[in-house]
Subunit: 228 residues, 2 copies
Amino acid sequence: MGDRVFSKTTVDYSLYLVTDRDLSLGRSNLEVIEAAVAGGVTVVQLREKYATTKEFYEEGLRIRDFLQSKHIPLIINDRIDIALAVDADGVHVGQDDMPVDVARSILGPDKIIGASAFNVDEATTAEAMGADYLGLSPIFVTATKPELVEQIGIERISSFRESLRIPLVGIGSMNRSNVYEAVMAGLDGVAVVSAICAQEDPRAAAQAIRAEVMKAKSKTTKPQRDPT
Amino acid sequence: MGDRVFSKTTVDYSLYLVTDRDLSLGRSNLEVIEAAVAGGVTVVQLREKYATTKEFYEEGLRIRDFLQSKHIPLIINDRIDIALAVDADGVHVGQDDMPVDVARSILGPDKIIGASAFNVDEATTAEAMGADYLGLSPIFVTATKPELVEQIGIERISSFRESLRIPLVGIGSMNRSNVYEAVMAGLDGVAVVSAICAQEDPRAAAQAIRAEVMKAKSKTTKPQRDPT
């Protein structure tokens, strides 16, 4: 882990950026990440949908070098091989990816493993298999394709919170106008894609969302995991 | 490595099957592999072009269980994470996949790492980075798309053989009618896809190709790496 100044137990999940080349208005992942980190992003997940393994690896090296210099954890989506190759801080696995316990056996105890969960059953299973945090997905569903999947919604967040001990990150159409109520309802942080990647000013977008998250966190009484 | 009876230095590359679902006439990979192994295949590479990580992992477990029972090495195409998760015998990396030295640092000294090479430069680089065998590709190019890539051809095999110490496997339109001359020219084995996967009787196809390979090997004077 070299010169990292955080351990996985002190990761701040407040504002978790998931990259998306298609939504980044022609900018590179690194350009978006640099601006987003300047604006207050606390975790970055690098996600590549079409890249070859070599491209993903080389991109991962670049992003890791930058994030290491900023002491921001790098999570790799799905690909444990890439995470190992670039010495990322962890991986995020969905329900179609490697099972959490298999990922844990490959990565060892020190790497962060996050898992996607739609319902409390999936979430408790992932926690029992060794997940370090959960991505609750989707908190909201965009209006354009409401029929595809049911949303978790604000009101169900508390049922996850009551059943789980590990940090909960919400994802799915989260933006500056809805993250406050989501964190008030029990999330430890919010994961965003287009609300940062697709904005003309990713730094300002990150700042605005981060401010909403911190406003909610300052009002919630549960102990914060992150000491900063 | 459990109950495996071979070490990576004694792998027999004579007949190396690369799976391809699209070409398998509706049969599962396992069905094709079972027949091909009965016909004399000595190594199997599991290749998945469209599968999710979870599907690839679960398929890998099934194939590994069968091949382990037959003492046939399993090589995973590209994905080091899958190879680790199913405890395969190794990986095969192309020029768009993980660099060989990075793969080696993740997999350690005991796993097999094969690399694709089109020319002697790529081949010697891969050998220097720690590859255990090379897939020379393509030995032949099919007539339908001759403009896309130049073929290595039979006559250039000797230049690879003279420059390299590790086993050489040829791939690219190899079949029962051309493997004899390819092995006579210096290959340790031949990798086939459609010449087995796409045949009505994969077992008979494997037997016929294996017989040609062994006929050539019995006439070549260089020491065989595989003691069997």
